[in-house]
Symmetry: C2
Subunit: 158 residues, 2 copies
């Protein structure tokens, strides 16, 4: 049996490490998401997708197109439509025309939506601080920078 050149072995062990990293990222994310889901339900009788939609609209206070909202949340337009419909019915979101454009309709948070979201966001931030409390602050910063660099890299390439 001929042994593989070192560079091939290195690449292969790097690939295994990347797979391990991915599995760990996925599991960590799912565990934290599961916990957030439960707490949002218990504390605010709401769901994670609903929180995500309100969070995106809170960031873009002028309103967002439905298509931009879907793209930002990485889910299908259909899913977002149902969530937005319920938020409109609850008085947390309003549909409006964008200034100077009569055809294009945007959705945005109402003042009641802003108020409701900010209460949830404060709790959400405390929960994350608690759930990610095991990672020390320097490591948090380092991890965060790495993920940022990784994403910029990846989104630039594809």
């Amino acid at each position: 049996m001929v042994s593989a050149p070192l560079s091939v072995i290195d690449a292969r062990s790097g690939d295994k490490e990347r797979l391990r990293l991915w599995i760990r990222m996925l599991r960590t994310t799912r565990i934290v998401e599961g916990e957030l889901r439960e707490r949002l339900k218990r504390g605010f009788d709401t769901t994670l997708p609903r929180f995500d939609v309100m969070s995106a609209l809170h960031r873009e206070r002028e309103g967002m197109l439905m298509s931009d909202l879907s793209r930002f949340l990485l889910v299908s337009n259909g899913n977002v439509t149902g969530i937005v419909d319920r938020l409109v019915a609850d008085g947390y979101v309003a549909r409006a025309k964008r200034d100077g454009d009569k055809r294009t309709s945007v959705v945005r948070l109402t003042p009641a939506g802003v108020e409701a979201f900010e209460k949830m966001a404060a709790a959400h931030e405390r929960w994350i601080a608690e759930l990610l409390g095991g990672v020390d602050t320097a490591e948090v910063h380092h991890l965060s920078e790495m993920l940022h660099a990784f994403r910029s890299n990846w989104e630039g390439e594809h």
Copy 2:
């Protein structure tokens, strides 16, 4: 206005960093998951939850209880049941009695299931190597260890 003591400011900025880290983890995970979902569909006409079930059973070749499978995958028993039913119909999974225990039924991969999974797993590993290729090998190892420590910590506490 009285300024907050330094330790409080530190804790608060650490909390903001943890929130930023969480948002980045979630986004990175969703982007990679979305890409894997598409490639599994295109290359193998299969879904991510189906791949996850086969992956868990591939690791536990003696078979798993449905309840252990659900717990491992962090999804509800109901979801897993539907996926397993289809895998059984496709000949990739079999239900069997555990040795020496006539009441408890376990599910496990059939030889055809092992073969089908190993083909998908090889492609999956290449995809991850590509998608996470932007993170260099030393960083991959570091990130992976951090997530492992974080999870052990967290799962121990809760």
